[in-house]
Amino acid sequence: MSRDVWVLGTSMTKFMRYKDKDLMDLGAEAALAALADGGVTIADMDVMAVGCLAEAAGGVGQRLQKQIGQTGIPVYNVANACATGATALRTVILSIKAGEAEMGLAVGLEQMGKMGLLGGAGRAKATKHVYEPAGRYGSVMPTEGVIGTGVMPGVFAQAGMEYANLNDGVGFEQFAKVAEKNHAHSVLNPLAQYQKAFSLEEVMGGEMIAYPNTILMCCPTGDGAAAAVVVSGEKLKTLPAEAQRRAVKISASIMTSDPWSEGGQVQPDINTLTRNAAAQAYEAAGVGPEDLDLVELHDCFASAELLHYDNLQLCEPGGAGDFIDSRAPWRDGRLPVNVSGGLLSKGHPLGATGIANVYEVTTHLRGEAGDRQIEGAKVGLTHVIGLGSACSVHILEKAAV
């Protein structure tokens, strides 16, 4: 029987055309007022869902957290045409009914048309180009590449170099070894976008994109899809024996966002929320990293994978360099990582990856992975991270129904 749920607080802004407020102003106003109306704060929320059509792909929920409080809770960005707001509400309701949350915040927001950015709104189109400060940084021109980089190759390169700064034994070669491994692994995966191995020299000698990541250390763009059918344990027991035999248990399903961090205000912090997600997943599943037989993690760039050895507790703290040097994450090592070829070689159609890695681990746990099968695999972990950010970790087990 599901739990009953109640509206504790609610608010809305006046609806009109706002020339002097941006999307975040509107969202923050409604969110903060709803929290106050309920007599609670963002710190009391266990989950957040934010619906916005125009910027559905723009990490609106995480951007709103920066305006009202970054507490690291799972944030779901949703879009469902005109039903978007109700979808955000449904998401929070489902989370509470599932017992994953006691209290959650649902926000729906929209700013339609080009008006509302601070400065320059509603003016007649100028016949000449004149600098005019706009936006929350009061910028007069695009700043990307002028005052640092904020796009992905550079962001993940900077994240890797920060780890190299803070820990011994990590340099260009260690990052390149990750790519050498994943390209080698992909040779055995017929579903991988690329199935070609490269030597370490070829990886390091490739065209440099953002040091230390060369072209062979960056995931490709491509197309694809993945899907999963999920069933309750109760329903599974009523299904045919073969279905029960091949079913794989989801022992942990965790999502996190960034809690506030100093550095996280200028450069995405891909570490804290990943560490939090991993710790919560191990706790929920009742397993530790030593119990894992294989891991499919988010190697969007080779530098990222190295950090996640540490973030997911696959290696000693600070020991990611030693870990890759020891060949432990190779398919014949003590903890195979990305035997699918990883994002680097298998590919990364953005929306598909978070289910494709579940397909991969499930296939091994069923003993159906053919040439690339990790023998005797019983427990696997999947990990994805989207910049903004959102991190999700799942732990899968071959268990008795």
């Binding site: 957290q65 180009h129 990307e144 002028v146 904020g150 440099m208 994109i209 205000q265 450069q267």
Partner: protein, 134 residues
Amino acid sequence: MGKQVPIVDYLVLDDGPPHLVQQRCTSCGAGYFDRRNACARCGALEFESVRIGGDGVIRTFTIVHRAAPNVPTPYISAVVEVAEGVQVKANILGIEPDPAQVHLGMSVRLATFVAGTDDDGTEAIAFGYEPVDA
């Protein structure tokens, strides 16, 4: 000299030597370069503008080779940690964008440069960090 405007409003040109400012939460001291509705750390609503120092060290960097058409490459992007522990993102100026020339922990200092000129002749002034000689 013609008019100059800062590329972003947290670079201040008209109050002594060029410097950066942060909006600091008056309750918990967390700092931000962009306008915020509430403090992301503690939820408080009041901020004060605080000047940050120009000297720092390179906490991390990358050398970008592939960028949008209007951005000359290669260039060094870095996160610089200034004296108070505040982190700033900017380019490293005045050295070759070569891993042999730039290194983690290098001492640097704020510098400015002209990033562009508009149709009125107004210059957009940007900032970066250049190595401090040992």
